[in-house]
């Protein structure tokens, strides 16, 4: 990843976010770094509480404060240092250069405004369009996401879930942002509608060269839409690489566990091998590797030493101590060579 500097849309370095509550501190995101080139899509994968959404909110500097505190890190979006920008400048970037699609289309739209006005709003603010121009452009956007222009005057409650999510996408893409953050955009939708929405995101991304951060727990969606994958566990990135590297040359035991937990659609007799145990309590992370208590490969050293994310070839990085041993490999790795 050493392309020309202005080709890099997003650069995150050493980001750490804590939620400092009265009696305890939730270590939501711990020292994560990644970067994203123009037109590229990264998938942030992980289970509930892995820190995916907090990461996304931090990129927009929207972590609820208090109790959220960005402890360290540098976030650069299109050359702007997000963490040191004055609020006014920040607001001109949000919605214009970087925007977000939320998980729940039922609550992310304002029920008392017409759909078209909600899309037009950001156009008026950011593109300095007149009311009629913004209105016209908003109707165009509706058409782009597959809703007929005649429905623009309706209110959100007149739309179904899938349609609302399309409106959410229209709002997010109205100002042609360089970076789009999609936080579980299809989790609340049915499979056939999910397929429509993913298709739409893919299309729009190809057409406009938008970079996308796809936050999801569904490895199937990642396989479909992403170029890079970062697997998160307890606020750490544990494995990071290209789609092919992570899916076909899996290195981290947690990633392996995720794959083994999924039913194989082509072999219904295959047995599920769940990861034993539970996510660690984020207010009380283990001293060593956070995954060690659930890991079948863990050694004594894993319990006391935090693994660093290291490059193991190409763009593939993994945070696992066992790779100190030259002949170590996980079972899945064996299978795939």
């Amino acid at each position: 990843m050493n392309g020309v500097n202005d080709d890099i849309v997003l650069q995150v370095e050493d980001l750490t976010v804590y939620y400092e509550l009265e009696e305890e501190t939730v270590k939501a995101v711990n020292h994560i770094s990644f970067s994203l080139k123009r037109g590229e899509t990264i998938g942030l994968v992980g289970e509930t509480g892995a820190g995916k959404t907090t990461t996304a909110l931090a990129l927009l500097r929207l972590v609820p404060d208090p109790p959220g505190v960005i402890k360290s890190g540098k976030i650069t979006v299109c050359g702007n240092d997000m963490l040191s920008l004055p609020v006014q400048k920040l607001e001109s970037i949000r919605g214009k250069d970087i925007s977000m699609i939320f998980q729940d289309p039922m609550t992310s739209l304002n029920p008392v405004f017409k759909v078209v006005d909600q899309i037009a709003e950001s156009l008026e603010i950011h593109e300095k369009l007149s009311k009629t121009e913004a209105h016209e452009k908003a109707l165009d956007m509706l058409e782009t996401v597959g809703i007929s222009r005649s429905r623009g005057g309706e209110y959100p409650h007149q739309f179904s879930g899938g349609m609302k999510q399309r409106v959410g996408i229209a709002i997010a893409l109205a100002c042609s942002p360089q970076l789009l953050i999609a936080d579980e955009p299809t989790t609340a939708l049915d499979v056939t509608i999910q397929a429509q929405v993913l298709d739409l995101i893919k299309d729009l991304k190809d057409k406009n060269g938008t970079s996308v951060i796809m936050i999801t727990h569904d490895l199937g969606i990642v396989a479909e839409i992403c170029d890079q994958v970062a697997v998160m566990y307890a606020g750490h990135i544990v494995e990071h690489g290209s789609l092919d590297e992570v899916f076909n040359h899996t290195l981290h035991p947690y990633t392996e566990g995720l794959f083994n937990s999924l039913p194989n659609i082509n072999d219904r007799k295959s047995e599920l091998k769940p990861i034993p145990g539970l996510m660690p309590d984020p207010t009380n992370l283990p001293e060593g590797c956070a995954f060690a208590p659930r890991c079948e490969y863990a050694t004594e050293a894993c319990k006391t030493t935090q693994p660093e994310l290291r490059t193991v070839g190409g763009t593939h990085k993994v945070a696992c101590l066992r790779y100190d041993e030259t002949d170590f490999h996980i079972n899945r790795g064996k299978k795939h060579g």
């Binding site: 289970e47 509930t48 179904s160 879930g161 899938g162 349609m163 049915d190 499979v191 056939t192 509608i193 999910q194 397929a195 429509q196 993913l198 298709d199 727990h217 569904d218 490895l219 199937g220 969606i221 990642v222 396989a223 479909e224 789609l243 092919d244 899916f247 076909n248 566990g257 995720l258 794959f259 083994n260 937990s261 999924l262 039913p263 194989n264 659609i265 219904r268 295959s270 047995e271 599920l272 091998k273 769940p274 990861i275 034993p276 539970l278 996510m279």
Partner: protein, 323 residues
Amino acid sequence: MADTILEVKNLTKYFKTPKGMLHAVDGVSFSIERGKTLGIVGESGCGKSTTGRCVLRLIEPTSGEVLFEGNDIAKYSAAQMRKMRSELQIIFQDPFSSLDPRKTVSQTIAEPMLVHKTVPKDQIRSRVHELMETVGLADRLINSYPHELDGGRRQRIGVARALAVNPKFIVCDEPVSALDVSIQAQILNLLKDLQKRFGLTYIFITHDLSVVNHFSDDIAVMYLGQLVEKASAEELFAKPSHPYTEALLSAIPVPEVGGPRRERILLKGEITSPVNLPNECRFAKRCIYASEECLKGNPPLREIAPNHFVACCKAEQFYQKNS
């Protein structure tokens, strides 16, 4: 004749709404053999949960028969039905709202035994321990409250509660949809294991096709209150013969890179409202193969191959194409 534990005939549930009759379940028939799993798949609003609840009479069906071991429980009185409840149980989707927040783990698991008096009072405690072990809950959690536990453990409590009265038949209503992948696999394995141990029969309701494929012997696909296709899991995945099934299968995101993929069939539009349905194929509006013929009437479910039922007038064509 196979050992049929449950047979549902022409089950119907209409709800009155201001706009007209809502056909939540519209003439659904199926049967399940003892010890097997029937998966019911469909999208939200297709009536799969209502079907499951009508079978247990948690919702009163409008009409139809529910034959459990030969007796029509749809005609049972409230008192008779209460007695039957020890044989028929349900596991819910949401491990958060399905447990009373003010009851401890042991209170929740013991309650069904107290109601049905299946276990002498002095043995309830030991039975609770036994059930907790069965579902993989550590003993030390016995006095915990639900809010102290995560989704996976809560779902195990829900499973233990259902098992407490030794049921023969359990409706699993999306039991893993609210759980993380790694926890989801734990619960699926647990349910499979329990089925083997106790010879349980399941109706497994879900929207997740890869889960249903893994879990069920037979699969029924629902659309707008009706079954559109029913076959064994292998057959359904190999030879989907209803255009809706085909589209559903093609929409599953497969977590593989570089492998073979089904050609994606994108459906037009969204599921229509099940209120005041016209007399035509209910899928016709979204079907890419729809023709004049499809608007002439609602096609009934018919057997196009042994144990393979499809409600589509062109089913044979699709069956041929896919085999």
